[in-house]
Amino acid sequence: MDNRYSCFFSDMGFLNVAISFIIGISTLIMIRIFYVVYRSSKPLYSRPPGPLSTLIILGSGGHTAEMINLLAVMQMDRFKPRYYIAAATDNMSLQKARVLEDSLPDKAEVELVETSQFMQIYRSREVGQSYVTSVGTTLIALSHALWLMIKIRPQVILCNGPGTCVPLCVIAFVFKVLGIRWSSIFYVESIARVRRLSLSGLLLYKLRMADQLFVQWPQLKSKYPRANYVGRLM
């Protein structure tokens, strides 16, 4: 009889410990997440940092044109090595990036060009694809994105576009929480978005995964106060 009671009590004890452990870990993770979100919203370095490894995520068509416009006015010696990622089915975007890189004046720094790597990832969702099969392709995209992010671990992420960037930004955020790599994530909403954010933009805004989110029309600034209105890029 005593044995039965002591088994019962030790089971209860184990359960209690397990539950306390889970609650404890979850609380720690929650605190860490809040800290990451809070710290991400503030300027990162108080002193000018050295060159920062940068991941540039390209979307199709108009998205790439806007990103090229932005890159053209940024000091490239501050953002290197540079990695470009575009969807596997998008051929034009990487070509445009290559043209930009080739046109950079500072060719003396050979390292600059050589370390820019061009890669491709599978799209989470093709235009017109049903939302149901999107789940499967998104999982594939997520695993591929994870593998790429482990390899690159960028300090800065620039993106402005469609589904391509969401898996990468989510992984970057998880890396921040786990202390694997702190990335500053900058999302520029497309100029085509005047009154509503795109799905990617909305996700990154609501989940507070982007350090800074930029919008190009004042209507979006009123609707999403934490966004930065910077005028138009095109």
Partner: protein, 178 residues
Amino acid sequence: MGGSDDSVKSKRIVFVTVGTTCFDSLVRAVDTQEVREALFKKGYTDLVIQMGRGSYIPTKSTGEDGSLSVDYFTFSSSIAEYLKSASLVISHAGSGSIFETLRLKKPVIVVVNEDLMDNHQSELAEELAERNHLFCARPQTLYQTISGMDLGSLVAYQPGDATPVANFINRFLGFNDE
């Protein structure tokens, strides 16, 4: 925009572009008698249609019978030359196409494709139309838009500038600005 030409030989070309999309309803609308006549009445001499992935084939015309000359093609590696030689552009509502045309300071009628899923494109076209940078229409209202348009009411679009974003990012990361 659109100064008058006295020379009989000089062309006033209307260039229609659907980019890489399939936009049969626009090509159809442009190919109707009433739209062609409306364009002709406005002084245009040629209609060139870039029909992209569409399946509707417009009717060619030499225009010898005193009407609009009509020609078409599917794709071009660069439509910049066509845009430059056009006096009026009728374009699908893709942002790349819109801004490429506005950069060339051409009058443009942007037509929104209502068959597209999640038609956020109309937001941009409508906003720019409200600011008088272009005209906005649907395939069904194209005729009215053409007949009623006043090119003089258009305001030039000032190109944007990405520098504020770059400066913001630099400051955020702690880089000093010159």
